[in-house]
């Protein structure tokens, strides 16, 4: 029998663990200046916690709260694995893609860390990789490598 996809199959723990890795290299960790609402990684962690608490995969209005003004230095080496994980967990909703989807929120926040602007998600992982390549070939290579590692 064909394996059916379940709507609760996203795995926030994997994303959380990768986000924690970014936090561990942050100078603001465990200081009074560590503010999740104004930090792209902190925002992503809050999104995942909220979604887990509420059992929901869409958070209406959350895309408008992404702290795009967070200009701390981030490194593509640590961000690429998070982007790769969002690709793995993306349900490829295509026409029904929602920017307030939990996976999309984390992906968009991570894009802001290393790209000048977030990418309009084309609705599928394959097209996403092609779009990233057109913006940043180095990041695209890292993303492809990260996807291969756990494929």
């Amino acid at each position: 029998m064909e394996q059916l996809r379940k709507t609760d199959e996203i795995n926030p723990a994997v994303l959380q663990a990768l986000l924690e890795k970014i936090c561990r290299s942050c100078d603001l960790l465990d200081t009074t200046d560590c503010k999740e609402s104004s930090c792209l990684v902190g925002f992503s962690k809050k999104v995942l916690n909220f979604a887990a608490q509420k059992g929901m995969l869409d958070i209406p209005g959350a895309a408008g709260l992404i702290p795009a003004g967070d200009f701390k230095p981030y490194y593509p080496e640590t961000v690429a694995p998070v982007l790769a994980e969002t690709c793995r967990q993306c349900k490829e909703c295509r026409d029904n893609h929602s920017p307030d989807c939990v996976v999309a929120l984390v992906r968009t926040a991570m894009e802001h860390t290393v790209l000048p602007e977030a990418i309009t998600y084309p609705g599928s992982v394959f097209m996403y990789l092609a779009t990233i390549k057109s913006h940043d070939a180095t990041l695209a290579t890292m993303l492809a490598e990260a996807l291969k590692k756990r494929a």
């Binding site: 609402s37 059992g55 929901m56 209406p60 209005g61 709260l65």
Partner: protein, 238 residues
Amino acid sequence: MGTGVFRQRNGMVAVDVVAACGVLTPGQLSGLSRKLEELEAFRVKLTSRQTMVVVLAEEKAQALIEALPALDLVLSPYGDVIRAVKACAGNAALCPRSTGEALDLGIELQKKYLGRQAPKDFKIAVAGCYRGCVDPHCADFGVVAVGKDVFDVIIGGYGGSAKPLHGKLIARKVTTGAVYAVLDHVLERFSALAQPGEKLGRAISRLGLGAFMPPDELVNCSVETDNNEFKKFLLSGQ
């Protein structure tokens, strides 16, 4: 108002049974099952409107109809009336993707409006998000949850036609209360303006959407989603 009892080509009759937007308790299901076995029903078909069509011998149909109230089920109305409401599984218990309590609203709308007279059959669909599992753009009155107690309203769609038509958005981000107010307004305009047997979508095509638009005071209750629960959660602990 007609009722959902239809003679079949095999000599039996089909009785259309309405539950709460297709939701049954185990007690209702087992009670109905026992009754249908007792009446030697031939088949039960789940319909696209989330009702159940029971096919059984004509002389036993009345006994089934009489048994429905005790099971908290209803014989479907038929004809130019408001039909059974289609609502998706969108609520906190049944669908993690739902952005609002669509199923609960659908059940309440059905309780209030099922069987009301209209110029032509009038179908309502309530979806928990824009994935639209119940095809809200193909309903006379489509509602889509876009947040907690926040809904968009679409009118004038129909799917069951050689020339299907998508409905048009007439209210954005309105409260549950406003959904009721907009529905009352649309039904009043539909009754006043439609020709006999004219679908709402066709009446809109003939007269223009403006003739059916709710007044500003009904829809100017837009809910600011910035002020949502997630924003409070995001800012908490800082």
